[in-house]
């Protein structure tokens, strides 16, 4: 029984260490400068950092295929950027507070496009 408890604790420790090693700042400077951060769910951000926050230009890649390339402010998608959806659809334009806000073009994977003003992810007719 003692052996089993020791084995479970030891395995947990090894797993935690392995996980800790595979996440966090993997390249460069993730405090102030340019660096690459890997999150526990394999989301990655590679770009500019200011005061430990994503700030400036960068690329955030989600494990499920969403890729945002553009400007960040206070760790949020803010400014001009392009979001690639997993199926190939894209939105290119202005962002604010992590959402499509402002002028932008949404292009579906079949080529169909919608250009105009967007507010919090919704197209304004």
């Amino acid at each position: 029984m003692k052996k089993l408890i020791f084995f479970i604790l030891f395995s947990s420790l090894i797993t935690s260490l392995a996980l800790a090693r595979s996440t966090g700042c993997k390249e460069g400077n993730c405090d102030n400068g340019y660096g690459k951060w890997v999150y526990t769910d394999k989301t990655t951000y590679e770009g500019e950092w200011v005061a430990t926050k994503k700030h400036g230009k960068g690329t955030e890649t989600w494990p499920n295929g969403y890729i945002y390339k553009g400007e960040f402010k206070e760790s949020q998608w803010n400014g001009i950027g392009i979001l690639f959806f997993p199926d190939g659809s894209t939105y290119e334009g202005e962002w604010a507070n992590g959402f499509m806000n402002g002028k932008g073009t949404f292009t579906w994977s079949d080529g169909k496009q919608k250009t105009g003003i967007w507010k919090n992810g919704s197209f304004q007719e």
Partner: protein, 191 residues
């Protein structure tokens, strides 16, 4: 009066004839009687408490469901680990129509990033989701026989600026993650 006498007489005769039977025959008769009594008791009890055909039908459905689940699990474990997609233009594993349906029917989980992705096009759902600590009331993955498509979604509810709201976000499930043990919806196309 005369009839009664005749009946009692007949009974007396059969009683006497029973007494004249040999002991093994009597014992056999008793055994048969007990068996019939047991069958009758069960028949009566089953009619009162049992669900009969309904129960059998339910059991058959459950057996079929288990068999189907086993079949799907076998198929899932044979898929390559990684991202499975139902559309062209990526390096990921492309699902055939048949596999797409099977994966859809076997999938139950929707991870956080898929939910966050769907919320890009539904700001109110995003607000409720974040206000309530990323809590999801319900998730669903369904195969639509008419459209031949897989649909997935989730329900978020909670107070948003003091008002109770419930929002269902759903869309076509177009990509899945295969872990080797199970599959998860990776992309909900709700636009």
């Amino acid at each position: 009066m005369e009839n009664k006498k005749q009946v009692f007489g007949k009974m007396e005769v059969s009683k006497n004839s029973f007494k004249t039977l040999s002991e093994p025959v009597k014992q056999f008769g008793g055994l048969v009687g007990i068996i019939i009594l047991i069958f009758l008791t069960f028949f009566v009890l089953n009619n009162i408490f049992g669900e009969g055909d309904e129960l059998v039908a339910k059991m058959k459905i459950e057996e079929e469901r288990i068999a189907q689940e086993r079949k799907l699990n076998k198929l899932i474990s044979s898929l390559p680990s990684g991202v499975l997609v139902s559309f062209d233009g990526t390096d990921n594993f492309k699902l055939s129509d048949e596999l797409y349906e099977a994966v859809c029917k076997a999938t139950k989980l929707i991870p956080q990033r898929a939910i966050m992705g769907a919320n890009f096009l539904n700001f109110r759902a995003h607000e409720i989701y974040t206000i309530n600590g990323n809590k999801i009331d319900e998730t669903f993955v369904k195969w639509d026989d008419e459209k031949n498509k897989c649909f997935a979604g989730f329900v978020v509810s909670g107070k948003n600026v003091g008002v109770d709201e419930t929002i269902t976000v759903s869309g076509e499930a177009l990509s899945f993650l295969s872990t080797g043990i199970d599959t998860r919806v990776y992309f909900i196309k709700n636009f």
